[in-house]
Subunit: 494 residues, 2 copies
Amino acid sequence: MATNRIRLAAVQDKVMPVEQAVQLIKNGMVVGMSGFGGAGDAKSVPLALAEHAKNHPLKISFVTGASLGNQIDGKLAAAHALSRRMPFQADPVLRKAINSGEVMFIDQHLSETLDQMRHHMIAKPDIAIISAVAITEEGYIILTSSVGNSAGFVAMAKQVIVEIDHTLPVTLEGVHDVYAPATRPHRGPIPLIEVNDRIGTIGIKVDPAKIVAIVENHIPDTPALMTDPDADTQIIANHLIHFFEQEVAAGRLPENLGPLQSGVGSIANAVLAGFETSNFKNLEMYSEVLQDCTFHLIDTGKMTFASGCSLTVSPKYAERVIAHMDQYKDKIVLRPQEISNNPELIRRLGIIAINTAIEFDIYGNVNSTHVSGTRMMNGIGGSGDFARNAHISIFVTKSIAKGGAISSVVPMASHVDHTEHDVDILVTEQGLADLRGLAPRERARVIIDNCVHPDYQAALNDYFDRACAIGGHTPHILSEAFSWHDKLERTGHM
Amino acid sequence: MATNRIRLAAVQDKVMPVEQAVQLIKNGMVVGMSGFGGAGDAKSVPLALAEHAKNHPLKISFVTGASLGNQIDGKLAAAHALSRRMPFQADPVLRKAINSGEVMFIDQHLSETLDQMRHHMIAKPDIAIISAVAITEEGYIILTSSVGNSAGFVAMAKQVIVEIDHTLPVTLEGVHDVYAPATRPHRGPIPLIEVNDRIGTIGIKVDPAKIVAIVENHIPDTPALMTDPDADTQIIANHLIHFFEQEVAAGRLPENLGPLQSGVGSIANAVLAGFETSNFKNLEMYSEVLQDCTFHLIDTGKMTFASGCSLTVSPKYAERVIAHMDQYKDKIVLRPQEISNNPELIRRLGIIAINTAIEFDIYGNVNSTHVSGTRMMNGIGGSGDFARNAHISIFVTKSIAKGGAISSVVPMASHVDHTEHDVDILVTEQGLADLRGLAPRERARVIIDNCVHPDYQAALNDYFDRACAIGGHTPHILSEAFSWHDKLERTGHM
């Protein structure tokens, strides 16, 4: 079994028990690990490391593609094994350690991590831990359900541990397209023009001498938990589909809309699922995470091709998709996140980006990360890569949260991840605000009229009117701008 | 004289007095005009339009490359001729009209305007007014001291008015490189790999039938007003040069640093001028505005090539540079702003971006546009194009303003144009904060220690300490976050 997957003779003697491999990870190291959106994580090694750290205290700087499954981040945080973490996370235990100031979290645009390492902005990994379905005779590491930052980690780390993942089939070979931008200067264009172009190799070419350990893994990816679309997310999807129909009718968008990007999570998933009952055909995706909805649209013939950097599917889809990968190989591709999220390609392709907001303000500045401006949820992820450079940048959220105690539309965003310059369309279940070509005062009018829950509309109008009476291009009353958040913290209700 | 410059026979009969040309501009039109950083504006037509509007009220939507000279914006605003203005301005009269809500100002990333028009996000110009030194026999409009958005305006407008500028020599022919990205879908890479690559044509190819008027212009560009470096800007420059020396010594930057971008204005100009006394050689620039310092560095042999989209020079340099353009043609090129500011190229080239902040906060969020979060100064300009996609994103400002009444470092930026994700280095005369790879709490420590004026250091430390005691990834006390701005508005002093 093992030799079937480890076809490179030169490294077959590197197979070792996970307890032995873990000892290669030393205090103070920068560890680069595969994993994006809970897919394609290395698992046996980091989980063993968390156990090991209980009795052998150590601190590492831990870099991945994005969030991890199997409570890996939580267990490492609980073992106090993390000094630094980048570029994204979504674990409740780690989140607590970040917000308490124990773990230094560097919340990065997901396209940037590898280029920052490559060009000496941040430290390169001392060791890489890479999840693979196989190592080929030619010396390619064949990745699993995500590509993330793995190729860059292998290229830049001094040592590489490979986890051979026996829970995923070798038929994944051929689904990845591994390409790295050249080191500057004299970097050329990235030669990708269509979403289904293949520009790289099927795996990561590795110097066999770098492989210091191979570990067999039998722990599966944590399946994505998707809540089904509810009435509100359905209405948000309908608003968006209606908008797209109008754009096509007016000749402003092509019939298939152009490549779609969709953020992670239930709302974004529900929005994309809304395309199923639409009249749109030949849809294409150029996104980070391929979720259930992607495969649903492919299966129903609505979508012709999807490019991503990870497969984050629920159990219902995992079997269908992973087990029948051969049927999908001409319809999907998994790329490194520096390619899936690359500003050069996002601008060139003209992507329609749909991401989720925690809150936005009356001028359209979006907070996607911090509760009440202070407490980190997950991170900015790829939303900034897409929003800044997309053809149309859309943010969606429900107009209220916590049964109405919180308005998602506030006088001023308590943390700004996306400035008004990068936000074209806002959608809640109340309606859609088309902000293109509008000045701040006009944006406020459209946002308050279309997106705000009726319970908060009068108060926002009152704030806006009083601010306008004082004046300014972006009228605000700074002494009141956060009064809603302040009241929430004090009383539990805005 | 005129026929010398109007070499295209088919349009020679379109020469007319400016008073006649002005009547082609109708109420409600979208007018696209050349001009960037007070260079290469059309002048006779807009100034005549401002006169005309006094007796013939009209409102236009006015789009340029960036800011204009000759008080054009102010005179149009005073005549109440502007309903909308984009994507940038720097005129005190227009600023007042914007802040009062009379003129709707759309403050845009300067790389985006043409792509938004091309792909139907905002209205295309009904009429374009283009400043030119000549129209060639082959039908090329040869631009003057800026390229800006002129090529796109000519391509997309129904009608074109050309202003033949007799104040600028025809030797400018050959300094421009006009290239437009293809309309999507199926857009290819922009084939630029080195800063001195030429990828386009020497002028704007125009359908002669579109040219509805040619006007002779004898009003010169308004010369840039540059204040000489003062002690503080000199110290800021020194901090930056020292940082660059360290980066090169550590092998993190190449010996010539890579392509430099520098924002407009006296501080940025002083910073670049600081390179003169440094040991750096073979410097290259890939920027928007080529200012005095650019030519000074070329003249002194420090800089080998500079790519920009406008020539904004003071009278001292204007004569030397403009009159001797033949000597500079192999050392500079002027490109459309959608190429000079293109995210694809900024990321590919690995640009070091140096821009000016109005204020920044303890976590490194930068406000470059709004005084006290409400009143627009000029606009975001190209700073967002560069900061998001640059290799190193640097912001500079003096630590205090108005004789110490204002601290440029505040608890929370009152308006966010550049989020902490896009800000790597901050410099004041107090020192330099290297924020690369740091988490927010670490960023705050480095910023307060290095960049803050001593008069405000204790108060910022106090705010930060109390915020940290409450907790959060980005600790803030929302009820106090704007107390400094609030006090400033009430008492004139932070």
